[in-house]
Symmetry: C2
Subunit: 110 residues, 2 copies
């Protein structure tokens, strides 16, 4: 529901949150597992996940005592349209994107 540009861009401005998104690109994850590679408290990661959820970039579903996080890439569409309006960039450059993932993902990437 909340998919305002302010919120989305602000959520994307933090490297921890971008890394989390990249991790969720591979698979849905539980909060504890999302937190594992980071050198910060679980509570801090929990807050980051709230921010991502409010931006609509992920969704969280509780099953049992585990809360699963799922990427919601559609939330990026509006922001993507906004940005492309300025640049007329090449459609999709997956090579460049994978270079980002290598840099931004925690080293244990599979």
């Amino acid at each position: 529901m909340p998919n305002d540009l302010d919120t989305v861009f602000a959520a994307l401005a933090d490297p921890t949150r971008r890394t989390i998104l990249a991790m969720l690109l591979e698979d849905d994850m539980a909060v504890t597992d999302v937190a594992e590679p980071f050198e910060m408290s679980l509570a801090a990661i929990s807050k980051h996940l709230v921010i991502l959820t409010k931006a609509g970039l992920i969704s969280q579903e509780k099953r049992g005592r585990v809360k699963w996080c799922k990427l919601e890439p559609d939330a990026l569409r509006a922001a993507s349209v906004w940005m492309q309006g300025f640049g007329q960039f090449e459609p999709v450059n997956l090579d460049a994107f994978e270079r980002f993932l290598e840099v931004e993902l925690p080293s244990d990437e599979a």
Copy 2:
């Protein structure tokens, strides 16, 4: 030079700054003229322009006593690639972009 994703997304997270970018899409502008439609001090706008400059999103060139601001859309490329990596969105939707401009631009749009 500085074109780091943190800086670019943070710069885009503020509605005043996005509006400024949209204004500069039409034409280069002097700082005073950029500030005119906003209900905030010139100093505040000057700071916003510094942030946009540090993000590489605009450049500023002083000619005489006037400092001209110019959009630098290339700075958006990296961020755009990053975002598209998630979504595989439709290439460019100019209609959607112009809808943004109508919402975000100060009403005196020409």
